[in-house]
Symmetry: C2
């Protein structure tokens, strides 16, 4: 059994002969989205699997919510390079018994996301999955870079300031409420939003790309620690972040009593689909405290070397990537 | 349980509000590939699932062959609109135990196809499948329309002549040999080629698009009867084909004795990845008998109405789409 990183590295090796420096490829494997120079414009293309049991739980999530989220999380990869979402294709593998009402509700939720995100379905494929197999939706999304320049994972330099949008761990908190069957309580409804209906930070990504303000960017889909690790490896740099600075969700006392740590959740909780980005220190004052209502927080800075550290209660300790790895 | 057609129709309905007449969409859902106007050029985008058990059989097929074929069959959708293959992305769902040698061999085969087809891997995603789940590879392929105009499924008119490239049912014959464990015999090796190593008809598709010779085109991935049905429904026309005219594979006597019908195989056998296209009668003489070594056969003509008939032994009978439907 190999880690996701090792698998991707081995695939990259197999295709190196054909994938490196291909004509028209501005950025290829290893980023949130590939960037292609098509005609006079730059286009971002990304693909994501959304599999029942791994990315949504049919016993807990309404089909509409799962359909909405499948598209929203794919679009987050376009936001992460600063692209404007345009088109998508969907490959659906679904067991015969789920092709009726369940599928209609799933596609209704996805159609709602498509309207909200201004995405157009242009094609796809359907396959019958075996009777008890999970539903899987593979989405391929295309977005246009409108002016400026796409932001890749790899451009961070020592001294850059690290920013994070939104509330770190908010989606994980929602998932914990669902897992504990607390999600039907009206007073927690607001805490479920980032888990059930993530809003890819499209406008923020576009703004950073158009003004060439970010040196590197990634969306926090796998958890801050893992995504920060990926951003740092891509740029061959390290980082130092301050736990006290992270905007953490308010955790209900009922969860706190169950040894539930908001800090752990903020550092490693997945599915946030916020933007983590680096900005040259001299430009960092141009980043507002809120962008269209979304808080932007300075969480630390890029360092030389490759170690990632977190300051916690006055002490610096090494931060390991303990977010989501599907093969762990 | 609904048919694939019904499922696709219901998805199309759900997204109609967002998918119809979207800016930049030259052709959307319902064709072999979507056609986008990106900058000054037209691009074809298509996506296909390749699932173990449905599209390849790990007990029978070498991982290298499955990897090769996964990419070749996706590229066939680009050939079917006359596009030149350029880039692809791959979503891989693989059980942890298959991430080692099996995956290396699968990707080696796919890398060989990529070199042969001049395709560049630009991105993707990996997901851990459960322990005994099938491997699935979802590919998204992009190709450029170089001059001329893309050929859609929907342009056939009554009186157009129908052409088919290659040998009808050749891939199915190969599959039957594999199923009967006859594929290791040296004298049958040649009969396996279209099953194991389909060659998408890229040059033929490009030539037809560039010279605007075809009014409608589709690749025969699901079997001639089903693909002809899809081409006719798209154009709201019927067709009449002549069974005697189809180029059929030479079936070994050993198979013929097992009530194995070359005619049935030619009409309904899937996986051929040949091109089926319609040409105005006045231009049909411009279609050569062979194109770069591949035979092109006049198999019939487009008729008014919606019925598809086949002439067999002097008699015309209705031809039903009895090719591949994953939900049957």
């Amino acid at each position: 059994v190999r880690s996701e990183r090792a698998i991707i590295a081995s695939i990259a090796r197999a295709f190196r002969a054909t994938g490196r420096g291909a004509p028209g490829v501005f950025a290829g494997m290893g980023d949130d989205a590939a960037i292609l120079r098509l005609g006079q414009s730059l286009w971002a293309v990304s693909t994501d699997a959304c599999v029942e049991g791994a990315h949504f739980l049919s016993g807990l999530h309404a089909p509409e919510d799962s359909g909405y989220k499948a598209l929203a999380r794919s679009v987050s990869d376009l936001a992460a390079v600063g692209a404007t979402p345009r088109y998508f294709l969907m490959n659906l593998a679904v067991p015969p018994a789920r092709t009726g009402a369940w599928l209609r509700r799933f596609t209704a939720g996805m159609a709602r996301a498509a309207r909200f995100l201004d995405m157009h379905l242009i094609g796809g494929d359907t396959t019958a999955a075996p009777q008890h197999a999970p539903v899987s939706a593979n989405l391929c999304v295309l977005g246009e870079i409108q002016g400026g320049r796409p932001v890749l994972r790899c451009g961070a330099r020592p001294g850059d300031i690290l920013f994070l949008s939104g509330v770190a761990g908010a989606a994980q908190l929602g998932l914990e409420l669902v897992r504990r069957n607390l999600h039907r309580r009206a007073r927690y409804r607001n805490l479920l939003r980032r888990h059930l209906h993530p809003e890819p930070r499209i406008a923020l990504g576009q703004w950073l790309a158009q003004h060439k303000l970010a040196t590197a960017m990634i969306d926090t889909s796998d958890g801050l620690s893992t995504d920060l690790f990926n951003l740092c490896s891509a740029g061959r740099v390290g980082a130092e972040i301050d736990l006290a600075r992270l905007t953490k969700p308010r955790v209900p006392a009922e969860l706190l009593r169950k040894k539930f740590s908001p800090e752990e959740m903020a550092l490693h909780g997945g599915d946030d689909y916020e933007l983590l980005f680096a900005v040259r220190a001299e430009y960092s004052a141009r980043i507002p405290a809120r962008f269209k209502g979304v808080p932007l927080t300075t969480i630390g800075r890029i360092t030389a070397g490759s170690v990632i550290r977190v300051r916690e209660g006055g002490k610096l300790r090494t931060l390991l990537p303990r977010g989501w790895d599907p093969f762990r």
